[in-house]
Amino acid sequence: MEQLFFYIFAITAVVAAILVVSMRNAIHSAFFLIVCLLQVAAIFVLLRSPFLAAVQVFIYVGAVMVLFLFAVLVLDVGKEAFREHMHSQSVPSLVMVAALLVIMGFMMFSGKLTVPPGAYNEAALAKNTEVIGRAVYTKFVFPFEVVSLLLLIALIGAVVLVMRERGKGADRNKPEDI
């Protein structure tokens, strides 16, 4: 039963993801991305991680995607911008991706997961948030702190790349430099 649901969610996610990149309208793409992310949230539920599922919905579907749609609407990014960017290589690309799928699938099925599930078994995961909290603030505290820097730099980057220089905007008027 769980397997069945997994495959439903997974296939929907993959199809939605393909649609995201093949849509010619940014709004459509965004909607399919939401669909895709919702499927991932559902898979988290199947994995006994309701907390992650909720975070996924809140942050990605709720915040990020709404912001994204908002930006798209404000900037009026439309159909024109998404016209044919593939440089006539969509078919080779598809063939290649298919080949990649076959090879990776072959390797995955010929290999096996040799190691038994680790500490996070069903019983431990019952206290979902506690497990995550403990992991993040004990074992993974160092990378967790580095992630905070990562977010900071992303924030700075957004400001740097969007904000024009103060004053006369001197830089803009210069001829294309080197």
């Binding site: 995955m108 038994p116 680790g118 403990r134 004990t138 160092f142 580095v146 820097l149 830089d171």
Partner: protein, 480 residues
């Protein structure tokens, strides 16, 4: 539950990262208060970085801390010094660049510092998770730095390309990490090696291949190099220098630690992949570089070729080879930085970046052209420069480990590479400029950078012994 005591929380082990983060935050805050004279931020950063060198060069104990996430050993210390040196030079040549480009914004400096933090995290990462966040921190900083001149289409284009392809490669790297986790049940490097034993598992091989590809992108190995010329060309030149030195060194640090600590039992498999990549990268980089008329693109392909040689040192898997990688990267930091500093000078003064723009430099600026010739000859591996000693160690390590063909390819491509480096020297010394060509003006800071890099290049060439000894000592624990 994991008891806190078993985590071995040791702040001493992450002291360089912490201090550097503090410095970056200080510069960030200062940026708000200093409105006009932004170069003050540069001085603060440089002084802070210099003060940091002794701290990072020192290692307290080579024991995994923070729950096995961090390993502040000599290996990490060696790389930290390389990163800091690269960052210092980059900031020094950036100050001239920002002034001449009339950019009055201070974010530049602390982004460089944050990227250096990312590199340090990568070098000391003992866990795939730490490694990944460090890599992303570094990469995110570089996406911004490459596109820093938002008014220039080339810069933004480069940033965008780097971002999209970087995201793709990060995805592939993460995918590989997932497979590795699936096959071993852990993300900790030493734990992975323990769990895996020598068991052959296609699942794991898939993980290894994908991780290789992820790192291959960062070090610009063929065929994952495609971004390099465009991004190098588009980015502000000091950023290009840092990208070609710091980013490459950090990626090699992580590359080495992952493969030597986590997958030593699978050397036959990854050795074969790396053999192929290394050979292809050396050949491709040096052959295509011949065609380049733009010096930045030429140096981009040259850096690809160098990546191939460094990879050879990693794959031969003995102390001379792995130590050779560390030494090579140290030398590379000096010689490549010197070459890029001169290229940056030419671009800053809007003289040009075509190789023919260097015509007649020798008669107008004899010292500058001599230094350029020195850096290029070092890159080409001519004694008595550091480039020669570095290549010598890597090649002799390859021969020691019986990789004759690879060493032969390395020697041949080195011979080819002399051709395009000599082309620039030829233009500088044997051509007269067309009419009244403008010659670049270097300031005091610039001269300091050029002289220090030149000194380093020569010194490492004529007296490499202590540095190579340190490098070999640093990699010894990884080879166990």
């Amino acid at each position: 539950m994991i008891p806190l005591s078993s985590l071995n929380i040791s702040f001493a082990s992450i002291m360089p990262e912490m201090l550097l983060t503090g410095l970056a935050l200080l510069v960030l805050v200062l940026d708000l208060f200093i409105r006009e004279e932004k170069s003050v931020l540069g001085y603060v950063s440089v002084i802070g970085l210099i003060a940091l060198i002794p701290v990072s060069a020192r290692t307290i104990e080579a024991k995994a801390s923070f729950g096995g996430m961090v390993m502040a050993d000599e290996f990490a210390a060696y790389f930290n010094v390389i990163f800091i040196i690269a960052a210092i030079f980059t900031i020094l040549i950036s100050m001239d660049y920002l002034k001449k480009m009339n950019v009055r914004r201070g974010e530049y400096y602390h982004i460089i510092l944050f990227s250096t933090v990312g590199m340090m995290v990568m070098a000391s990462a003992n866990d795939l998770v730490t490694l990944y966040v460090g890599l992303e921190l570094m990469a995110m900083s570089f996406y911004i730095l490459v596109a820093y001149r938002i008014a220039s289409a080339r810069s933004v284009e480069g940033g965008l390309k780097y971002f999209v392809l970087g995201a793709l490669s990060s995805g592939i790297l993460l995918y590989g990490i997932s497979f590795t986790y699936g096959a071993s049940g852990s993300t900790n490097l030493s734990e992975i090696a323990r769990q895996l034993g020598g068991f052959q598992n296609p699942f794991l091989i898939l993980g290894i291949v994908l991780i290789t590809v992820g790192f291959g992108f960062k070090v610009a190995a063929f065929p994952f190099h495609v971004w390099t010329p465009d991004v190098y060309e588009g980015a502000p030149t000091p950023v290009t220098a840092l990208l070609s030195i710091g980013s490459k060194a950090a990626s090699f640090a992580a590359f080495m630690r992952v493969f030597m600590v986590a997958f030593p039992a699978f050397h036959a498999q990854w050795g074969e992949i790396l053999w192929m990549l290394s050979a292809a990268t050396m050949i491709f980089g040096s052959v295509v570089a011949i065609a380049q008329k733009n010096i930045v693109r030429m140096l981009a392909y040259s850096s690809i070729a160098h990546a191939g040689i460094i990879m050879m040192g990693l794959l031969v898997y003995n102390d001379l080879g792995a130590g050779g990688v560390l030494y090579y990267l140290l030398v590379y930091a000096f010689m490549n930085m010197g070459a890029f500093a001169i290229v940056a000078l030419f671009r800053n003064d809007r003289i040009g970046e075509s190789i023919s723009d260097y015509s007649g430099l020798a008669s107008r600026r004899p010292v500058l052209s001599f230094l350029m010739a020195l850096f290029l000859l070092s890159l080409a591996g001519i004694p008595p420069t550091g480039g020669f000693a570095a290549k010598f160690f890597v090649f002799s390590a390859a021969i020691d480990a019986r990789y004759y063909w690879l060493a032969a390819i390395g020697v041949v491509t080195t011979a080819i590479s002399l051709f395009f480096y000599a082309k620039v020297i030829f233009y500088m010394y044997m051509r007269e400029p067309d009419g009244e060509a403008v010659m670049p003006e270097s300031g005091v800071l610039y001269n300091v950078v050029l002289l220090v890099t030149a000194f380093g290049t020569v010194f490492l060439g004529i007296y490499p012994t202590p540095f190579i000894d340190m490098a070999i000592k640093a990699v010894k624990p990884l080879l166990m």
